[in-house]
Subunit: 523 residues, 2 copies
């Protein structure tokens, strides 16, 4: 019977209050006086891509601070997270085939790899290295060579539209929750493999340098002339950054492999201008700003998105879009004269692409963290891959935290929100979404979504959420690719997203209670 | 009643004989001993793109001759068509943004435009020239400038799969013939506009050179990082080739325009290594080879495809695929020991991309042509745009010509054939297609298809045909683009096409009568 009562209590929560007068003001400002594309334009086209700790990321920190101050936000500051590594940037990249025929090829460097120090020319050679032992066969053979790291890959036709929105069926499917499989992840095997891979990568970098290889070329992660690539080398001072490493469009890489198979001599000229911008490891910086609350000022509602990006595009969808929307949401709240009860705090994270580093450090510093591991193997792992050890250590602000809202799935329209298995939050979100049904945001799913900064909150039991977004061409050609540029972002969708974020944040700040929490996974 | 008799006679034609024993041999050779991808590989990856009159086109002429001779074909030779223009080739192309930030941009030169003679640096400036008068405003202002020729273009999401095959509905639709609209083309207006455009292009080339502009950049014809571009400058000796001209991916071009709109100074470095390979205009060359007939040896069945291509890809789908299929069809016929009654002649055309020049010249020389116009305005037009003047002048071989089969719609599977309004040919084609229903070729449509070399035959009343092909990603990202490469061609489809071409050609060579003709359009 008590269960039934709880049921009624839940139903009562469906009458979650919604401040429609404030929604009116937010929609008006967001839809008719939007600055979201100006913000995105400056971030991506004036500043450019924002690799963590690059000079451009520092520019972005400074510029967003300036904007926040201009809008009258309080406590505007950068907050350091320690020991990220070195900065890196590049400005030129060209590859020419010199034999068997002459033609320009399209390739871009992997982040954190050295430049070529002017054009270098060499013969191409295929190397295949899966374990440390595989290095032996190449001893004395790599000098002056340009190394192909991958097999050729057959073209995979795209038999669906590469740009899509959710249809009704797709949204309906989100109502199903897949129960966790009853298989324990083999942590020991995972740890061993991870450690081996890291060691192999370091050994390869040192080996290629010692052997005098000129450069390496890998195949882009996608077809159709798109370059999809992340980092190589090493961002850590004191570690070998290896030789220059590039990723080449599949349509230019495959022919090199085929020419080698035909026993032809393939010669390339490679010119990459790239540099590490620091000698020593540096901290990274999140940019933080607030609208102070009154009444419940020591309680906080957060919103955020990572500002760092990869380097081959301009990080417009990943995640200039999220940054522009979160900044615009703050601007809207100031513009409509919002005076929240709880403090509203925006954070523009850095180091997300290297494992949610900025948000995780922030959460550890301000809210909660598991104890540092003592096992050296665990210690060597990035924090996001470590197993929780011991009891969660909570700071005073842990209990004062209301909710965190994140955006990091491209520039597609919000279609609803992932409740991250927080069933108690679902009726609240349903109520808050209702004034946005007419702009396509209708769905609350119990499902989890992962791989970005709300996970840093969720992992310590704090309510951290992300929105359901139309995927557009994010996962087909934009994510981590040279096509992640301003033109692939959707202005109308970003206006809609900013309105919804502003409204969610407002309601989370005004709500009688903080948002309900779910039990910690390990509890 | 006479009509009815004709009807019966037509139905009798449905019993068009089909040599299934030969089809067996052709399918076996084509499907199980194919060389079509080896041919395509050599043509596109060892030789490369084959711009008309480029050194690579000459290599292709020589290599295909060698292959034909190796297969035991007769009368293997190149046949010149006069006065095409100069050859051109390029080997390097790089553009770097120097301000407002540094980044490599992706652009490739338009064919028949000069190189930069080493890297040049300059500020970017938008010019908009629609008439000769528009030049005046730029006098004295272009020195050292890099000129943007186009407006920014909004990204157009691809809401259908960019790679497609015909479905049953699509094939069924091909059974409908749209009656010609009752609107006369205004030849005089067309002629005037064409002439003005040509004159403006020449004036612009001379103006930019005189004013000392460094280069021009236009926007690629397609989005998604693809470079789609043809020629610029001029291939004609004695005409100004203008300044270096490039086409840039939309995702890099649009930001330049936006930066100019924000009144920012945009500076680029451009380096294009390109050269004209001749001082004077040169003839172009078609490569021709035969399997001589016996019995009706002075009658000829032709098959062909254009071997010239644009320069940014490797001309694999346009039209290495057609060349490889036509060559493979000849190889198959030799391999199966075909001894045809009529002579079978293959032609690998050049100058197709500049207006079917090679095939048109060949048809004029061997079969028929309209008299050269006397009106100077008509004379100035490319032959393919001229109005027929006077009576068709037929050579002796005109009546001895049986049929021509062409392929030039990418590497997609044959789904049938366009009968070009030759209703009398349809039952014949239906019979010939029957042994290929199991590999997807089922459809005979009365429709016309245009824009390639069978039109040179059709235009003088000779039966010239082209096949219906699955379009794959030809018209979405491959046609005239840097993605026109080997990896975007479909090996199984090309095997199927070669078998069908070999079988059609065989049946056309063995048939009691030559193929029926339709009346000349002007008769």
């Amino acid at each position: 019977m008590w269960v039934l009562c709880l049921g009624f209590s839940s139903m009562a929560m469906a009458q979650e209050p919604v401040d429609l007068e404030m929604v009116n003001r937010i929609r008006q400002e967001a839809f008719h006086h939007s600055q979201v594309m100006d913000i995105l334009g400056h971030l991506t086209e004036d500043i450019g891509p924002r690799l963590t700790n690059s000079p451009q990321m520092a520019q972005a920190n400074a510029w967003t601070q300036e904007k926040f101050k201009g809008w009258g936000l309080a406590n505007v500051h950068d907050e350091a997270f320690d020991d990220f590594g070195r900065g890196w940037e590049f400005s030129e990249s060209s590859v020419e085939m010199l034999a068997p025929r002459t033609a320009p090829l399209y390739a871009l460097p992997k982040a954190w790899t050295p430049g070529t120090n002017g054009p270098v020319e060499g013969e191409v050679m295929r190397v295949s290295i899966k374990t440390r032992k595989d290095l032996d066969q190449y001893k004395g053979k790599l000098k002056g060579k340009i190394l192909l790291l991958d097999d050729a890959r057959a073209y995979k036709p795209g038999t669906e539209a590469n740009w899509q929105r959710y249809d009704a069926a797709g949204l309906a499917e989100l109502q199903d929750f897949a129960l966790p499989k009853d298989a324990k992840r083999d942590r020991a095997t995972f740890l061993k493999r991870y450690t081996e891979r890291q060691e192999l990568a370091r050994a390869i970098n040192e080996f290629f340098v010692a052997e005098g290889a000129l450069a390496t070329i890998g195949i882009s992660g996608w077809d159709n002339g798109v370059i999809r690539v992340g980092g190589g080398g090493s961002r850590r001072a004191g570690e070998s950054a290896g030789v220059p490493e590039l990723a080449m469009v599949a349509e230019h890489y495959n022919p090199l492999m085929r020419a080698l198979e035909r026993k032809e001599t393939v010669k390339l000229r490679v010119n990459v201008k790239a540099r590490f911008t620091d000698e020593a490891n540096q901290p990274g910086y999140n940019t933080v700003a607030e609208i102070p609350g009154s009444g419940k000022a020591n309680e906080v509602v957060m919103l955020g998105a990572h500002m760092d990006s990869w380097h081959t595009g301009t990080g417009a969808s990943d995640n200039g879009a999220g940054v522009a929307v979160m900044m615009e949401a703050m601007r809207i709240l100031k513009a409509v004269g919002a005076k929240p009860k709880r403090t509203i705090r925006v954070a523009l994270w850095s180091g997300e692409e290297q494992g949610l580093i900025g948000s995780r450090a922030y959460v550890a510093k301000h809210f909660a963290a598991y104890p540092e591991p003592t096992d050296p193997a665990q210690k060597a792992l990035p924090a996001s891959l470590r197993e929780p050890t011991g009891a969660l250590q909570k700071k005073a602000d842990y209990e004062r935290f209301a909710a965190y809202f994140n955006m990091d799935n491209g520039s597609g329209r919000f279609r609803g929100i992932y409740a991250q298995e927080n069933t108690a939050a679902m009726p609240i979100f349903k109520a808050w979404l209702e004034p946005f049904h007419d702009v396509g945001a209708t769905t609350v799913t119990s499902r989890n979504t992962g791989s970005t900064d709300h996970v840093s909150f969720d992992a310590v039991g704090l309510p951290g959420f992300q929105f359901i977004q139309d995927r557009l061409d994010y996962s087909t050609q934009v994510h981590h690719s040279n096509l992640d540029t301003y033109d692939h972002s959707s202005p109308e969708d970003l206006k809609q997203a900013a309105a919804i974020v502003a409204s969610f944040v407002w309601h989370a700040a005004q709500r009688e209670e903080k948002l309900p929490r779910k039990p910690l996974a390990q509890d």
